[in-house]
Amino acid sequence: MSEEIKTIKVTIDNITIDVAPGTSILQAARMIGGDVTPPAMCYYSKLEGSGGKCRTCLVEVAAGSTADPRPMPKLVASCRTGVMDGMIVKNMTSEKVPEARAGVVEFLLLNHPLDCPICDQAGECHLQDLGYDHGKEGTRYQFARRTFKKEDIGPYIQLHMTRCILCYRCTYVADQITNKRAHGIIDRGDHAAISTYISKAIDNDFSGNMIDVCPVGALTDKTFRFKNRVWFTKPMDAHRDCQTPGCCGKATLWLRGDEVFRVTARKDEWGEVQSFDGKPGWICNTCRFETKQTSSWTIEGLTTISRHSVIGANKYQTLEMPKETVKKVMRGVEPKLLMDIHSVSGVNNPDIHLSEINGPAHSSDFKK
């Protein structure tokens, strides 16, 4: 008897794809990629039970399935909703989704300190990206923001609860990757916080992975804290023969010159830890915090970074200089300013070239 692999069809933003039964809408959207994919702040495909909480991945289901084509009455969390054969989903094409998502962004930022200028996560923060992509300018919140004290959870990790969006990912890491969970969610409602409750140190070989799954700057690497901006460092893929059971030994080194400022797990295009041979590539604390010499690693090459990311800035030196000069492109016109105000304004003396003025221009410069 031959086993037939059944697939089902789902249409997201007018793009139809065949997927295996049991696939979530978000996973199907990630297979299509691009703008079709809803953002996800709490869902993490490598952590069982994650998702459903942040509500950023809400999508509209315009038709439930071929068998029952009725639309779903409410927007659904795409990360935790399975696709049905013939389901029609609207993400970017929905009229309701952008509004609801902007609402969620506003809620997530309501009590967020927006201290990006002093936050180590800036430049690789999913909340920043979410805010830029789906949020609205300004805030309508006029009350004092909720704050918490900083807390060291063990020698390597600092918890900055004020920035936390309560995605619960780090608690799933502790439950599923480390052998013991010492931190969790304390209190409830708008007072709920990640904490060890009595300032217990989190002491486990894999605790550092909590930093990698944190979508914001709530959990940061104390060995990297305030050392550098991520976009000044250069990410290089590297590996070593790590003896810690469960550690994949494959990492990204964040270098400046020859100095390793930081070691992280390797991330995929969704910001999640990459899988190797079907297994998530978690790394141990020895690799992450204590192996900061390039000599301990075999460097594979520059990490692929999205061109849209600030981290990619100045990293790609292989670009070729264009062979044509600007003069040639502009049909013989020498470039001076991008816009020549002399040609549109009679106020200034057209005989005076701005480029010839030394220092900031003053009105007297034009009265010659």
Binding site: P73, G82, A100, G189
Partner: protein, 450 residues
Amino acid sequence: MEKKLLLEKVHIEGIRHYDVYRREGGYRSVEKALKMQPNDIVEEVKKSGLRGRGGAGFPTGMKWSFLAKPDGVPRYLVCNADESEPGTFKDRYLMEFIPHILIEGMIVSSFALGSNTSYIYIRGEYDWVTDILENAIAEAKQNGWLGKNIQGSGYDLEMYVQRGAGAYICGEETALLESLEGKRGNPRIKPPFPAVKGLWGCPTVVNNVETLAAVVPIINEGGEAYAQIGVGKSTGTKLISACGNINKPGIYEIDMTITVEEFIYSDEYCGGIPNGKKLKACIPGGSSVPILPANLLLTTAKGEKRLMNYESLSDGGFATGSMMGSGGFIVLDEDQCIVRHTYSLARFYRHESCGQCSPCREGTGWMEKILLSIESGKGKMSDIDLLWDIQRKIEGNTICPLGDAAAWPVAASIRHFRDEFEWHVNNPEKCLTENFGLRHYADPVYVAGS
């Protein structure tokens, strides 16, 4: 008309105890049910048209028929006695004064569903009621209605009471199950539904106290007889918890054919508004359902007299209607301030949000703060629109219905009483000392010409 099925015998002395309860005909439904096929009991409940009495009003028989029955996996019945919806106190009354009717209903229901261990999850504050229930369970067990081989039928059932510890959210069935498993009361993300994966991952039915008690008369008299009472899809009787500004607050068992007007003003029920005051507004089904001004409460937008039942109370949708909900009937007289009252409810929902999903965690607190500033004379006109926008962004976008429950009272208050909000903004110096009063909301029947 008053029709009593659940509370008929509640005033008989000693009915709290087994001997009296049994003498008065208690546990007959168990005797009858044990001779029936479990599926026939489910059919009987379907025929009765019984709808869940916890608030959602979902047909009970249908809920039961969704229960998955995989081989070798235990199934559970859990009674939701986490009564916490502001305005609702009927389950406590039932459990406190006639506990055996719940136990009797649970035995029949457990047998119908194939549960051999059933739990009553009661809110932690009902500490003394827990003792009453545990005592009643012990009495039932001594008399062979619980334990092994009940009444020689071969059916085994154990029943336990578990106390919560102060969390409204545990009235949501999946949060209740989490709590029963010894965890934080965070609602689960559905699907899977409890009927497939409930308590400890096993198929589970969660029913309200009043729902399970109603199974007793349904089995005794038959589903069809039960369905004869009431009107339309509002069959049987409903316990109404009446409170607020009325002369006779308390629990009333009604058949769902009486008018709201009769319920408020008749001496048989609430007995009117105290001190000669006029009716301003009412929340007819527990704090989560939309508040209605007097005129829309007593008559629907179509001009018909509104009845105390599921269909009539929701007539007009949210624009001009409300909901039956849990039957928590909260009456506000002319001296009450809608803004202050809405603020009080917003504070409640902020306090009770589990904090798991962002719209509810952040939005409930934001609404509370804005309402407090309007109430204390610090509000701006734009705050009213902002409130409207916030509630709209919470509603429907959360994991569980607490988001909707927090959004609806704010929405309905602004929808029907916007002028009172605006008055607060325009009269910051008056709004803590003076009252906006009635304006055009006055009950047209009872205040005409006065």
